[in-house]
């Protein structure tokens, strides 16, 4: 144990002295506030834009009094122009559609001019509904029929039944993405020191020095493993703190989080910390195992590049297609972290899922330990040329 701590001390001193490792550890987490706040701002802008667009309607003719009353009642943002002017605006993407009158002599026929990809006709349908109702009522009055009795034969009202998940869509989205960014930050910040401590050490010729020490190869690699894991955990914790701060700032600044609790619960923070620790052990072992097999620093970096994607994508895809956690899924590394964290954020945390995640990750960590210890006993790996 003493030998492991001696190597750990030596490795930590080297990592602290290495600017690139420190940059990776500190700089990558700094991107999390940019991403969380930036994405929140983007969503906020899009939602505001959509709301504004939902009120816009354009006409290629002068509105009559009735039509004016209807657009006033619906508080629509009306643009009037000639057919050619509005056609040009439609082409330029300034408007999504415009309404013109039929030129075949039918006074009550309206035409919606739009591109096949245009959206936002709901506002026109609302306008049309109101106008149609007025005209129908006029006809009924002319025929001595009470319009209200005739037209209100059926009515409806909306009863919105949102689950907490549905109403907190943006909160879920940002918190889960924050975890994915934390995982990515850990992965990126782990690959460099893992490469440096293995392939880098061999390339620099210092591996021979360390192997002459009266320390077992097993203890050398465990010391290195612990050092990389400690830095990975530090990156993860720093990222988590920055993510929480960013979520709080976003919650206070953007309307999309209005009346919603964006702050992670104590349980979610604990789960996030557990994931950070487990993931740091797992990814450090994986990076060391891969980098140790590489002959040069560059080769190790290339070999580790796919890991950065593998660490991020299963969780992201699972989140995007709304995969629900199951016992089997909670055993799959990379995927299980996002699913368990998602359950925690949604208040659906299943203890069996958490235990499954812990057990499966521990098994993988033990496998990684065995693999890297075996590698460090192999002359083929240590003296690969």
């Amino acid at each position: 144990m003493n030998s492991i701590f001696k190597i750990l001390k030596k490795e930590m001193r080297e990592t602290f002295r290495d600017r690139k490792s420190l940059m990776m550890m500190l700089m990558i987490p700094l991107f999390i506030p940019l991403i969380v706040i930036g994405m929140s701002a983007l969503f906020d802008f899009q939602i505001t834009q959509q709301e504004e667009d939902a009120k816009k309607i354009s006409f290629a003719y002068e509105l009559n009094e009735i039509e004016k009353q209807i657009v006033d009642t619906l508080e629509l943002d009306v643009t009037i122009g000639t057919f050619d002017e509005l056609s040009q605006k439609l082409k330029d993407g300034e408007i999504d559609y415009f309404v013109s009158k039929s030129d075949d002599g039918l006074a009550n026929k309206l035409i919606v001019n739009r591109k096949s990809s245009s959206k936002g006709e709901e506002v026109f349908l609302s306008f049309l509904e109101g106008y149609k109702a007025y005209l129908q009522a006029n006809i009924l009055v002319g025929a001595n029929i009470e319009p209200i009795e005739f037209m209100n034969v059926i009515s409806f009202e909306e009863n919105i039944i949102d689950s907490e998940e549905d109403s907190n869509f943006f909160v879920d989205y940002m918190t889960q993405y924050a975890l994915l960014f934390i995982i990515m930050a850990i992965t990126i910040s782990t690959t460099y020191p893992a490469t440096d401590a293995t392939a880098g050490e061999r390339e620099r010729g210092t591996l021979e020095t360390i192997l002459t020490f009266p320390i077992k190869a097993r203890d050398i690699i465990i010391g290195k493993y612990l050092n990389i894991t400690i830095f990975a955990i530090a990156t993860g914790v720093l990222s988590l703190i920055l993510a929480i701060i960013s979520l709080i700032i976003s919650g206070n600044c953007f309307a999309i989080y209005k009346d919603m609790n964006i702050m992670l619960s104590a349980q979610s923070i604990l789960i996030a910390l557990l994931i950070i620790i487990l993931y740091s052990f797992l990814i450090s072992g994986l990076c060391i195992a891969i980098a140790s097999k590489s002959k040069t620093f560059k080769e190790a970096q290339s070999a580790l590049t796919p890991i950065q994607f593998i660490s991020f994508f299963p969780g992201m895809i699972a989140f995007m297609i709304e995969v629900k956690n199951t016992i089997i899924l909670s055993l799959i590394p990379f995927l299980n972290f996002t699913l368990v964290f998602g359950d925690s954020v949604n208040g659906n945390l299943d203890p069996i899922g958490v235990i499954g995640m812990i057990l499966s990750t521990l098994i993988f960590i033990v496998v990684m330990f065995v693999v890297v210890i075996k590698q460090y006993k192999s002359e083929k790996i240590l003296f690969a040329r």
């Binding site: 210092t206 021979e208 020095t209 009266p214 320390i215």
Partner: protein, 251 residues
């Protein structure tokens, strides 16, 4: 006393036609080195010197044979033996981000040098190897000679009994080389066992009590330099070596 008994080391290599082939870098090497003796390991590049010294230092494991240090073997007493070995090669690199002092303190920690004796020990070695001027500079900023001195100092910090030195003077200027050679001679007087591999035959002739000549992984001659010269009817070890292998181009 160091005893190397019939040591063999097998490696894998690939032929031009990418065929996997086993070969012995060292093939049945045996010799002894007594306390207070400098034994030179001589041979051309690829003769198996570095592999042999790495096996003696416990970095590589022999495929066959045994290496004994006062009746202890690496296989059974790895850590105990490593605590008594100083291994230094011309290829061994140090940690550039540390200062010489930090590296030596780290080695004190690793070799369990008592805390109250560490500073004094570093000062002594620093004075012996004339490193005071650059001891507190980062190793990455030092010259080759200065780095090699720090490397040698690293191996001495725990006052080892066995020195395994692999071409430690290659690439050094004559002053740095001489400081190291003088140090080796002084350690011999203290009863240390010193294995000294070099390309420079004159250097070996100058400091070695006995030499082990190796070619293609096999010992071709063991003896005192004068005895070898006499038996090969040559005036220096360089010519003696060529005579033993049948000429410079007989490879």
């Amino acid at each position: 006393m160091l005893k190397v008994k019939d040591v063999r080391k097998k490696f894998i290599r690939y032929t031009k036609s990418k065929k996997r082939e086993e070969f012995y870098a060292d093939d049945g090497i045996s010799f002894e080195a007594k306390d207070g003796e400098i034994v030179g390991i001589l041979g051309p590049n690829g003769a198996g010197k570095t592999t042999l010294l790495r096996m003696i230092a416990g970095i590589l494991e022999p495929t066959e044979g045994t290496i004994e240090f006062d009746d202890l073997t690496i296989a059974k007493n790895e850590l105990e033996i490593k605590k008594n070995i100083a291994f230094l090669s011309g290829n061994t690199k140090l940690y550039n981000s540390l200062t010489g002092y930090e590296l030596l303190m780290m080695c004190c920690d690793i070799y369990d040098v008592p805390k109250d004796k560490r500073k004094k020990r570093i000062e002594e070695i620093s004075k012996t190897l004339k490193m005071e001027e650059f001891l507190y500079n980062r190793i990455g900023n030092l010259s080759t000679g200065q780095t090699q001195k720090i490397g040698l100092a690293r191996t001495l910090i725990h006052d080892p009994k066995y020195y395994v030195l692999d071409e430690v003077t290659s690439g050094l200027d004559i002053i740095s080389s001489q400081i190291i050679l003088d140090f080796i001679k002084s350690e011999k007087k203290r009863g240390k066992v010193i294995l000294y591999s070099t390309h420079y035959m004159e250097e070996a002739e100058n400091i070695c009590d006995r030499v082990v000549m190796i070619n293609k992984g096999k010992v071709i001659k063991i003896g005192e330099p004068d005895a070898i010269k006499k038996s090969t009817k040559t005036t220096n070890l360089r010519d003696a070596f060529f005579t033993l292998i049948g000429g410079a181009y007989n490879e």
